[in-house]
């Protein structure tokens, strides 16, 4: 049961976060000024990528709540970091980011760290 929940969380989080990045990229840089911020929120509420990402993250959130009832916090949070490598791969191929070797190293270190924390 624990690992099924982890699977649901990883899949939903990966899809949700890549969609979120795509939607925000589409929107452009947020400027922290009162007038602009309100307009940005109104625009984001009609951004399909952002809405889809929120739906996917809601799935991940409820699965995460379920996982928290049956495991420790110091297991639940780190184990979901597998998404880090999956999303870096998608960032390169779907979002067309220039992922330098330093970033790959960083993502790999994070995942190795996560594996150790959750074992």
């Amino acid at each position: 049961m624990k690992w099924i929940l982890v699977g649901i969380i990883v899949a939903a989080t990966t899809v949700g976060e890549v969609l979120q990045a795509k939607g925000m990229r589409h929107h452009g840089e947020i400027r922290f000024r009162t007038g602009r911020l309100g307009r940005a929120v109104a625009l984001l509420a009609r951004n399909g990528y952002v809405l889809a990402s929120i739906a996917a993250m809601a799935v991940s959130f409820f699965a995460y709540l379920a996982l928290l009832t049956i495991s420790e916090l110091s297991f639940a949070v780190p184990v979901t970091a597998v998404t880090c490598v999956l999303e870096t791969i998608l960032a390169k191929h779907v979002l067309h980011e220039q992922v330098s070797w330093l970033r790959w190293m960083g993502a790999c270190l994070v995942v190795c760290g996560v594996a150790l924390v959750s074992l």
Partner: protein, 144 residues
């Protein structure tokens, strides 16, 4: 161009700190308020109205909003490792406030996570795609 990249770096660091802080505190309050088990689907909803859980959810809303703002200019492949410092902080919060056990293996893991974060945040620029696009747009604008 250098003052522009310095501005962006500062903005990125501040926003990343808000992302990490709200994520760690949000997760902490969720776990603290969570009952031992959720028996029925209805309980998944009613549990949201417990004060600790509400606070946790509120903080996670701050997390979502700040993360979205951060992603509006920074790369996902930059944001991911950098905000992973939260994973290490959550484990430490679990140890300090919830008295969960952290083995030697977990401490090594936490150190690796921190090293990954340091590598990406210190070694790479937050943006790889937009800078090129913006330069392109400027060149096009100047040509007109």
């Amino acid at each position: 161009m250098t003052s522009e990249s310095a501005r962006l770096r500062w903005k990125t660091w501040i926003c990343a700190a808000v992302v990490v802080g709200s994520n760690v505190s949000g997760n902490f309050f969720l776990k603290k308020g969570m009952p031992a088990e959720l028996a029925t689907p209805l309980e998944y909803i009613t549990v949201l109205f417990r004060p600790m859980i509400s606070l946790g959810v509120l903080l996670l809303i701050v997390w979502l909003a700040s993360r979205m703002a951060l992603l509006s200019w920074a790369d996902l492949s930059y944001v991911l490792p950098v905000t992973s410092v939260g994973y290490a902080l959550v484990a430490i919060a679990g140890r300090v406030f919830l008295h969960e056990q952290i083995s030697g293996k977990r401490w090594v893991g936490i150190s690796l996570i921190m090293a990954g974060v340091a590598l990406v945040s210190g070694g790479t620029s937050p943006q790889t795609t937009k800078a090129a696009e913006r330069e392109h747009a400027h060149a096009a604008g100047a040509g007109r």
